[in-house]
Symmetry: C2
Subunit: 436 residues, 2 copies
């Protein structure tokens, strides 16, 4: 005899609809596998008049989320509205009411997770958030459970599908950034407001969550280094290709011998031979290295209705199991280190590719190279795109490939170079990642 667990769904957009459909389609499978009947008993939405799926009983809907949280037929609250304000209130209310929460809201947890996880602990009521990072890929479970016995040495991931799609189209079809973004929006891969996707913050929010889980401390989003793909140009991608690299928006997390954690998100050159370079479109992948497990890779669909629903449903079943066994234990995140030990971005070191917007005049290369030499930064190559039919045509772009140095040193030096009269704007910097 199966037990029944009632769900309250807050938000009925793309993912909410996906959760509804998945629970409908695979209800027998889920109850067979888990011994639990999961039913959606309430759905909170903003506007009752908005057209909804015909199959959903209109009586399930409410515009009052508090009504849903307090509904005695709701055992588990699933928050899928996004944002960090109302969503916070909903999750806090559910936890306070002792109702386990399932959420896919990475911004909420990365920006205001500390308060919610503390509430979760106080009320001994879990928050599940597999869907917050990398869609269908069970990466939270991997870091939190499967790698529990590992010192995690490093993580490197492509965890924003929108920017990955845009970079892929720029790479494969030679599209410009604006054109590729437009295509992604047209296909539904990018939101009408794609800001958080293309400025790196969606990926950074996910990286913050993974880093907290791996290293046990709360991370202040203000303190981490995040750059997006807005300034990537087709010529950067072309240069990368010539040098044997592919341009990806990469999150890098690494523990250093002094215990500090390097955490950064930026467009990067990664070796074309590395498996991450073949992660295309809306797919995500995360490479994790543990001291026991060694190198591992998790790959799958990083976003979208069904893949995200897959993780939400897995979390619902886990929450339901725990609820039924009265095991309403804390499964959010509790820091076990009092203060963060993030490495200053200035102290991180890689090789770099830097593009300068210059005025073509005799001495440009010498002036820039001299500043780099004065700082002790080695140059492994420099180039400007030249029309073979007109090698003397004026150019406006000049790229330098630089040896490994402290990012702080590079920053200072680039500031000095910016002040040269022949340099017209802030240089564009890509990390070159060896991923070894």
């Amino acid at each position: 005899m199966n037990k029944t667990i009632g769900i309250g769904l807050v938000g009925f957009g793309t993912v909410g609809t996906g959760v509804w459909e998945t629970l409908e389609r695979n209800c027998n499978l889920i109850s067979n596998r888990s011994g639990i009947e999961v039913t959606i008993n309430r759905i909170a939405i903003k506007d009752l008049n908005k057209a909804r799926l015909a199959q959903v009983d209109i009586d399930l809907f409410t515009t009052d989320w508090l009504d849903l949280v307090n509904d005695p037929t709701v055992d588990i609250v699933v928050e899928l509205i996004g944002g960090t304000t109302t969503a916070y209130d909903i999750v806090a209310a559910a936890l306070t009411a002792g109702k386990p929460v399932v959420t896919g809201n990475k911004a909420l947890l990365a920006e205001r997770g500390q308060g919610l996880f503390a509430l979760s602990n106080e009320h001994n009521t879990p928050i599940h958030f597999e869907a917050a990072v990398a869609g269908a890929i069970p990466i939270i479970k991997a870091v939190q459970d499967s790698f529990v016995g590992n010192n995690i040495e490093s993580m490197a991931g492509i965890i924003n599908g929108t920017s990955n799609y845009i970079l892929q189209r720029m790479t494969e079809a030679g599209l410009g950034y604006t054109e590729a973004l437009g295509e992604a929006q047209k296909l539904g891969y990018a939101e009408a407001d794609p800001t958080l996707d293309v400025n790196g913050w969606d990926a950074a929010h996910k990286a913050i969550l993974l880093t907290s889980l791996a290293y046990g401390f709360t991370i202040d989003p203000q303190k981490i280094y995040v750059r997006g793909i807005e300034r990537v140009r087709t010529m950067d991608i072309e240069f990368a290709k010539q040098l044997g690299y592919v341009v990806k928006l990469l999150c890098v997390v690494r523990e250093h011998v002094d215990g500090t954690i390097e955490l950064r998100t930026q467009p990067s050159f990664i070796p074309a031979s590395h498996v991450l370079s073949n992660v295309n479109g809306v797919y995500n992948a995360l490479a994790i290295k543990g001291d026991a497990a060694g190198d591992s890779l998790f790959y799958g669909k990083g976003a979208g209705k069904e893949p995200t629903a897959s993780s939400v449903v897995a979390d619902i079943v886990e929450a339901a199991r725990n609820t039924l066994t009265k095991d309403v234990k804390h499964r959010g995140f509790l820091p076990y280190k009092d203060k963060g030990e993030l490495m200053e971005i200035e102290d991180t070191s890689t090789p770099y590719y830097v593009r300068f917007d210059v005025t073509d005049q005799v001495g440009v290369v010498a002036e820039i190279a001299t500043k780099l030499a004065d700082a002790g930064i080695g140059i492994s190559g420099t180039h400007s795109p030249v029309d073979p039919n007109n090698p003397d045509a004026a150019f406006v772009d000049m790229v330098f490939q630089l040896h490994t140095c402290r990012f702080g040193l590079l920053k200072e030096t680039l500031k000095k170079i910016e002040s040269l009269s022949c340099v017209n704007s802030r240089p564009v910097v890509f990390r070159i990642e060896s991923l070894s």
Copy 2:
């Protein structure tokens, strides 16, 4: 204040030592993350006189596993001795005593799991077996928990590191099978008795477990199709390469529209462009396709001391958590379908590559081709390796690349071909997998 959980370790070979070392090395990390102090309180071994790690207190050892199971300081029993006889008794005794079991024993669970899972259910005491499949890769958790809301459409995996290493060395270094096997044994990648690794059964045991979890029924190992790599020759690998394929020992699981499950393990040609073709050495990978999650891939170290210990420790922590919250629920596998619905191997269809050992005489190709034509099997190519300096030299091998047909039809036809006087032994068959 952390809680303490006592472990009884049965078996202290490679993996047992790895578990000990991992728990020692990362004890703070594990207790910080889980709130649980895990200590190994007893270790059962065969021979007390065998030299053991100096760091282990000799008082922990016993030669009586029943003594260990009954020890009140042992909350969780970890079975790492392998085999299907004594190991069965140990696991059964632990479950009967209400002590959760962690095991990495794929043969035990695939051959005799039905009885153990029933005991687990009867005594409401879980069996955890992440380490039984694919070493450090959390693939049991993925199929059992993360994909719980998915109808699993297919799985394809490279899940035996030993045979994968041998095939890789044959591919990269042109070694013969015997030579590559010898190298693997020398490097510790193959056991002194490598039978289960090279005959496909180690992989098949893992595939049986995954298939049971995915489709909910107990599988009779007698009824599945398993072929190993013993008859793979360097020339097969060469032909594969020429045709754009790589030879891998592949497990294939697929649900068909009639609800039957295709399950087979055999050396296969897979496209060189597919990500699985780049899974080398002792690495494992499993591609899973779910109706919600879409295509996913899990990759990591498939065997070895530390990677396997990583999964054992993860299971220990999960079992410890459940024990402390009195949530000693069933987490083994309970079939929810009464009888299996395996597809007969004869009813599966792929293209094939078939190598015949022939006597070089005029008419060989015609005789074989006629038999194939009579059966309605299309030929897309036929070839024998010919020395360019001596194109008329006698050959003994003749390969045919065949179009998709029922395996049953191919088998019958090959039997007829075998009876031809020009054919000297049983043909060697490889599946050609599109993996799409």
